[in-house]
């Protein structure tokens, strides 16, 4: 069986190595070009299909926990009606970063199959670990996904509130990034994090 398979592979390899004798170079180029467009377009379309809120909340783990929490926040409903959906914050815009994130997401599919967070209790128990993972990613990218919309160079500090302007100028002078202060803006924080962050972090 295995020798037959090896024979087939080596046979195919021999054919692929040889120059084409039947088809013109032009036909091969055109067919290759069209097939390339179809495959590449198909790949990108499939990837974009996984990049929608609809896709994210097709898992009940997302819909019942983080999505339900997010529906109560400013990124879901606000005066100007601009909404940031799941991929706006959680999937990078730049292509190569996006592909890397999509490959990493296969781990999430694995845990979906395992049912790691399939009840609210299990989710709550894992919340700190999950939150820390997102926080450290955001910290390492200088809150890149936040900055797709919020750029501190575009902020009009005069128009900001009393507390906002003092915190922002101080924070940026210290080289802080968005996620250093703005934790838990779209989802609930780990239990008791607000009361004492260090104690909540130590619970892990």
């Amino acid at each position: 069986m295995s020798s037959e398979k090896n024979n087939f592979i080596s046979c195919m390899w021999e054919i692929m190595k040889k120059p084409s004798t039947h088809y013109s170079l032009g036909a091969l180029l055109i067919i290759g070009f069209v097939a390339g467009i179809i495959f590449w377009g198909g790949f990108n379309t499939a990837m974009e299909a996984t990049n929608t809120e609809e896709f994210c909340i097709s898992c009940h783990e997302m819909e019942n926990n983080v999505y339900a929490e997010y529906k109560d926040t400013i990124h879901y409903s606000n005066p100007s009606g601009v909404r940031a959906t799941c991929p706006d914050c959680h999937v990078p815009k730049q292509w190569h970063h996006k592909v890397i994130r999509k490959i990493k997401a296969s781990n999430e599919l694995f845990h979906k199959v395992l049912g790691t967070v399939d009840t609210p209790e299990k989710f709550e128990a894992k919340r700190l670990k999950l939150a820390r993972s997102v926080w450290s990613t955001m910290k390492s990218t200088d809150s890149r996904e936040c900055r797709n919309c919020h750029d501190f160079k575009s902020m009009d500090y005069v128009k900001q509130g009393r507390r906002a302007v003092s915190s922002h100028t101080k924070g940026f002078d210290k080289g802080k990034t968005c996620i250093d202060c703005h934790k838990g803006i779209a989802h609930s924080l780990p239990a008791m994090y607000e009361e004492d962050p260090s104690a909540a972090m130590a619970a892990e």
Binding site: D72, T73, I74, E124, G161, R162, R163, S166, S188, L189, A191, M192, Y193, E194, E195, D196, P197, S198, A199
Partner: protein, 148 residues
């Protein structure tokens, strides 16, 4: 019964019914002078007051008012958004007023190391302010001990 008496009673009864209808017509319901088949007026949306300096107290034991909006702030078993600035672990960095020590004792008078469960629900006493006029006029004046 004599005929004139009967007529008199009928007249008086008619008068009473007329009067009671007139009185009923003067009563306005709380939803305003609207027929039931008409939609009532839209309520005016009150806006929370913007971020401001701490508001002075009006009487000695008044829980301080909240001088900022608390829209979408949640207080649940696991979360208390107020504490992210006002707790003793956070007030230093945030520059907010720290929780009073009186909030650290339980109902038996034992001093705890952190906010007592009976004082955990901040908005039971502390409230934000909106541009709402008092519903009932009153003659309240701040306590004399509070200097203005």
């Amino acid at each position: 019964m004599k005929k004139p008496t009967l007529i008199a009673i009928t007249l008086i009864m008619g008068l009473i019914i007329q009067l009671s209808q007139a009185v009923a017509g003067d009563v306005t319901s709380l939803r305003g002078n609207h027929n039931l088949d008409q939609a009532s007026k839209n309520p005016v949306v009150k806006h929370w007051q913007e971020d401001q300096k701490p508001i002075l107290r009006e009487f000695v034991h008044q829980p301080p008012l909240i001088p900022h909006t608390v829209e979408k702030y949640k207080i649940t078993m696991n979360h208390n958004k107020c504490l992210s600035c006002h707790s003793w672990s956070n007030y230093g960095e945030s520059g907010a007023t720290k929780i009073s020590l009186t909030h650290f004792s339980d109902r038996d008078g034992n001093d705890l190391a952190n906010v007592s469960a009976r004082r955990y629900f901040c908005n039971q006493c502390h409230v934000p302010q909106a541009n709402a006029q008092p519903l009932v006029e009153n003659t309240f004046k701040p306590a004399g001990i509070i200097r203005r």
